[in-house]
């Protein structure tokens, strides 16, 4: 779509909205109302497109190929066979281990706005007929930081997979350890890594898919431990925060620093796979490992 076309689309929609408002007798406001979320500004290339265009493109920026964030629900729909997903531990809620002020309230608000109970959804499904355990992190929930619930659900998912001899596929996204749970969050890194170790010792396959953004304590634990590590194009992947590093070196970092491509170049990912091919790629890898899970 050319720039001019885009403006035309926006114009017609704005006018349509304005028309609607005209009919509404209570609306004394003459200003044109722009509906929320109508436009999407790509955080990578700053290109602006219509949200429905983005959705049609699987939420991938058509200009720069940045793979923007999906909700856990959207991801599961895209990856799992239809109606095959059955969720684990759907009602697990975190407590407040260090009595952090307003932690409960903040979570209450997020639970009602996102419909999530915490930042990861885990369960069992089939992908093109291959049975596996699937975990998906959702950045809308406190930037998918890892506290007690995320740590426990991921650990249980691996333990279930180990007991039932199933492969694990983990779509990672996280700002890191959840500050509001203090040292308890830090320990989740060791706990999840331990569960990965046992799954690995049982000779079972673990695929990590790095999605936007995979950073901090999640990068420094289960996200980096996959037998096979896939990344989505243009997503943020790294350990330390960009601003922290810029503070250390006192200069601006290049834009491609800590990207999926950066991880691939430096040997920390096996491949970059586009969203439209993800399901096919994972199914293919699962099939090649069928013997391991017999």
């Amino acid at each position: 779509m050319g720039l001019e076309d885009l403006f035309n689309v926006v114009k017609t929609r704005f006018n349509a909205t304005a028309e609607d408002n005209k009919d509404d007798k209570d609306s004394g406001d003459s200003a044109v109302k722009v509906p929320d979320n109508m436009l999407f500004k790509c955080p990578r290339c700053l290109n602006v497109i219509m949200t429905d265009e983005l959705e049609k493109n699987l939420k991938v920026c058509p200009k720069c190929n940045y793979h923007s964030r999906l909700t856990a629900q959207e991801r599961i729909q895209l990856i799992a066979d239809k109606n095959s997903f059955s969720e684990f531990d759907a009602d697990m809620l975190s407590k407040n281990p260090i009595d952090f002020p307003d932690y409960e309230e903040k979570q209450q608000a997020l639970r009602s706005s996102t419909g999530l109970k915490d930042a990861v959804v885990t369960g069992e499904c089939t992908i093109r007929g291959e049975r596996c355990v699937l975990g998906v992190m959702d950045a809308r929930y406190m930037m998918a930081s890892m506290g007690s619930v995320v740590g426990e659900k991921i650990t249980r998912a691996f333990e279930f997979a180990t007991e039932n001899r199933l492969p694990v596929i983990m779509f990672t996204a996280s700002g890191g350890a959840r500050m509001q749970e203090g040292i308890v969050s830090l320990m989740q890194m060791a706990k999840t890594s331990g569960a990965v170790a046992r799954h690995s010792d049982a000779g079972l396959l673990y695929i990590t898919v790095l999605t936007d953004p995979t950073t901090g304590g999640v990068t420094a634990s289960f996200a980096s431990l996959g037998d096979i590590i896939i990344a989505e194009p243009k997503v943020l992947v790294g350990f330390a925060g960009r601003r922290v590093i810029e503070g250390t070196i006192k200069q601006r970092l290049p834009d491609d620093f800590q990207s999926a491509e950066f991880a691939l170049e430096h040997g920390f990912a096996d491949m970059i796979v586009e969203r439209k091919s993800m399901r096919r790629t994972i199914a293919h890898i699962l099939k090649l490992h069928k013997g391991a899970h017999a």
Binding site: D91, M92, L93, S94, K95, N96, P97, I98, F100, P101, G147, S148, V149, G151, E152, T155, A177, M179, Q180, E181, G182, I183, V184, S185, L186, M187, Q188, M189, A190, K191, S193, G194, A195, A197, R198, S200, D201, G216, G217, T219, A220, S221, F222, A223, S224, L225, G238, F239, A240, G241, V244, I245, T248, I249, F257, Q258, F262, H266, G267, F268
Partner: protein
């Protein structure tokens, strides 16, 4: 017993950061009969922020892995203010694997503000290096004992903290991130370090209460710097007792206990 020094969390942070706080270099000759330092990760280089080698305590051969703080500016330049790079964690893993091969217990000393945040550290996979250590230490088939000497900051500390028993020096602090970083992330104000300290639960007592540590090692009145010899003696006593205890346990049982120690940390409810 009523203790004379009960410092606030922030006072403790000041104590462990002050010049003169004993470092692992002060303790090693006082705790171990001998120590031979080993260098390099065999992959990239040698990190001065993590030292390692073999030694013995009361005649028991052990592998020692330690984060090193500098006692002056020159030492700090060499050890990067105890902020390890990936090659440091990989050196630690190499030495731990060597210990496993020769059936030596591993003793880790933790003392870092955190893993180094830098361009090269990212290029060489800081996250991967820490993750690898967490996984490999969890299944290392030899006893591991870790001690927090001063600051135990974030994943940079935990990379040497997967163990069978964790002890913390009385005034040391162990935290998910430095109090400064905590204040900066949650309140957008790094200056609120003191408030962060009081809310984060970082003290030795907190670690016992939260099931993170098993033992608090006493420091002399006023802090370890007031009597390095006494502190070293307290550490040595703990190490000898714990080593002899852990070495008697069947390794598969020990590995299960190690897994469970971390497995049970976390607070949640199920609806």
């Amino acid at each position: 017993m009523e203790k004379l020094n009960k410092f606030t969390p922030y006072e403790r942070l000041e104590i462990v950061r002050q010049k003169g706080r004993p470092t692992v270099r002060d303790y090693i000759p006082l705790i171990f009969d001998e120590f031979i330092e080993m260098h390099g990760d065999r992959l990239f280089g040698d990190d001065g922020a993590i030292m390692g080698g073999i030694g013995s305590i009361s005649g028991i051969p052990v592998t020692i892995i330690a984060e090193v703080k500098g006692r002056n500016i020159n030492e700090n330049k060499e050890c990067n203010f105890a902020m390890p790079n990936p090659e440091g964690y990989r050196k630690a893993l190499r030495l731990a694997k060597q210990a496993e091969k020769f059936h030596r217990p591993v003793i880790c000393f933790i003392d870092t503000p955190g893993a180094f945040a830098g361009v090269d550290a990212e290029k060489r996979g800081q996250g991967e290096a820490i993750a690898r250590n967490l996984m490999e230490f969890m299944r290392l088939r030899t006893p591991i004992i870790s001690i927090v000497l001063g600051e135990g900051g974030s994943g940079g500390a935990l990379a040497l903290g997967v163990c069978d028993e964790l002890a913390v020096l009385e005034n040391s602090i162990y935290s998910v991130i430095s109090p400064r970083g905590f204040a900066s992330i949650l309140w957008k104000d790094a200056g609120k370090e003191k408030e962060a300290c009081s809310i984060m639960k970082v003290t030795a007592e907190d670690m016992i209460e939260l099931g993170v540590a098993e033992k608090v090692i006493e420091e002399p009145i006023g802090g370890a710097h007031n009597d390095v010899g006494q502190t070293a003696e307290n550490i040595a006593e703990f190490l000898y007792k714990t080593l002899t205890k852990k070495m008697k346990i069947d390794i598969d049982v020990l590995l299960n206990e190690r897994y469970t120690k971390f497995r049970k940390i976390g607070e949640f409810e199920e609806g």
